[in-house]
Assembly symmetry: C2
Homo-oligomer: 336 residues x 2
């Protein structure tokens, strides 16, 4: 049994490296298994019965199935740490980032370059952030600009028309009351936090205030999770032969925010790997996804990861994803 798994590992590693179905002979030669091809053939037949490998056609070698990769990832491999120069490169790459947009943009680029795969990075979730400040600017007597700044560095702004004009003093009052109530509170709690605020104003202005509250809640809740950035799609083309048909469906899937968000899933700390058919989305059946959460505070407020062909170097890729997540988390903590 032990030996059989050793053979599976050899098959996966060889196939990932060469992109050719691996036969019993090369397996015996290339890996230091002191065992004859015939024996390997027997074991391979068993592995095929277990559904871990298949032959694409009779006269070819074996390649791992999705299930084979699964076993490999779960039991046969260890996450490979990055090399020292790679780690230094990451540090340097993030170094000059000036704001959250910049951090996210650099991170996604970095991740795709390190892994040579398509990288996906989600902006820190708004609902998991807390309010750092709410600013209210008057553009015209009946036109306000609201700026919501979260402690994760995210900034959302919105313009709204007021039903009635608002004078400067009301504005000042509104601003201070808004901040007094909400700063430091979770955005998810804002509906609760701001409830009844309009009652602290005169009857006349209450409609205006309700309007303002409405827009703030919109900013905080409705659009909150939806920002995702992708980079390195050209890597898809480089691995093109790996995808059953063409890269088209994959590219298509990557353009839908909804798909991406589902792909990243809930932000959790530990690393997750989804292999081929384990994915719900049919367009992605020939791809694998590696994701992990990240966030400045230690617990995950967003997810990042990569997507590539199922035939990928899992140990290295997993190492890269986890390292980048760690670095960007630390960077967010220190800088933004």
């Amino acid at each position: 049994m032990e030996r059989r798994m050793e053979i599976l590992r050899a098959i996966v590693e060889d196939y990932v490296a060469t992109n050719e179905p691996v036969g019993s002979k090369v397996l015996a030669a290339r890996h230091g298994l002191s065992i004859s091809p015939a024996t390997i053939r027997n074991e391979m037949a068993a592995l095929e019965d277990e559904g871990l490998i298949i032959q694409p056609h009779t006269s070819a070698g074996r390649i791992p199935t999705d299930l084979g990769y699964r076993v490999f990832v779960d039991r046969l491999s260890t996450v490979k740490p990055l090399s020292a120069p790679e780690r230094r490169a990451i540090d340097k790459f993030l170094e000059g980032a000036v704001d959250l947009d910049d951090v996210v943009a650099r991170t996604v680029r970095l991740l795709s370059q390190v892994t040579h795969q398509v990288a996906i990075v989600q902006y820190p979730s708004l609902t998991r952030s807390a309010v750092r400040h709410i600013e209210v600017l008057s553009l015209a007597p009946n036109r306000l600009m609201l700026v919501l700044i979260a402690d994760t560095g995210r900034v959302e702004q919105r313009i709204l028309e007021l039903p009635r004009d608002m004078d400067e003093s009301t504005l000042t009052l509104l601003r201070s009351k808004l901040n007094a109530r909400s700063v430091g509170k979770k955005l998810a709690a804002l509906p609760e936090t701001l409830k009844g605020l309009e009652e602290e104003f005169t009857e006349n202005t209450a409609t205006n205030i309700r309007q303002v509250i409405g827009v703030i809640l919109e900013m905080a809740i409705e659009r909150s999770e939806e920002r995702v950035v992708v980079s390195g799609t050209s890597n898809l083309a480089r691995h093109a032969p790996d995808f059953n048909e063409s890269v088209h469906p994959v590219l298509e899937a990557l353009e839908e925010q909804v798909v991406l968000l589902r792909l990243l899933g809930e932000a959790v700390d530990e690393m997750k790997v989804k292999i081929g058919h384990e994915q719900e989305n049919k367009k992605l059946h020939s791809t694998s996804v590696i994701t992990t959460g990240y966030g400045p505070t230690g617990d995950a407020v967003a997810t990042l990861g990569i997507i590539g062909p199922t035939r990928m170097d899992y140990p290295t890729s997993m190492g890269a994803v986890s390292a980048v997540a760690r670095y960007v988390s630390r960077f967010l903590q220190e800088e933004i």
Copy 2:
């Protein structure tokens, strides 16, 4: 001569529609030219001498060269207006946009869907915008957040560490002085506008103020042009056979901000078309680019456009690009 051009137009239109080299016979049949195949052959030979068409191989029909497309675009075609339902779709698509990010995101998506090509949209240039408001928030005694809001809707923010603590009253003063000086002024003029501002403060705070000014200028000038959004890359794969080799180099080029910015070029009002080898970038020699400026005020503050295979439907694509630019300009004017 007139007739020869008519034949070129027929070749382009036919080839764009069918993606097959077009021969003299189908040309005589499909288009209402009351002229025999033999005559057409003579004219085609002439067109080939002029470098407007070529035969991929001896026993095949002719296809247009880059130069052929050029002549077609410049002299033989008229921009095709969108259909009424398409126009309505555009309106609807932009309808619910809540802020500039949203407008840009919707626009790029829209453009790629309408044209079935890769769409590229540049954010309104900061240096061509004017200041709407500068906000200064205190996060800690020695930590400020600066928010710069432009009249084109763009919002940039930056956090900075101060060399010394800054008290609340200085902050208020700074805020009002900053806005008094700069609101309504062009961002490009900010270095001039803010010059000597620090002298209006006590010696002690002058270093702080200088720091703040420095960061504002950074926001306004240094990173100012660089935001570009791309959508619809999956359309590349759909047209894959059109690209000489693979889509890889094109995808690669589309990932470099610098390349994209050069592609879009200076924001100018009229529409520009670059065909195949007219492009400097070698990776894009099998593509054509259609761009035009847009902006809320009537004159262009940014550029948008599409990129696709040289074998594209120029009249329709040009119509779509120009229409979308018009619509988004109007939308920006009204809403943001």
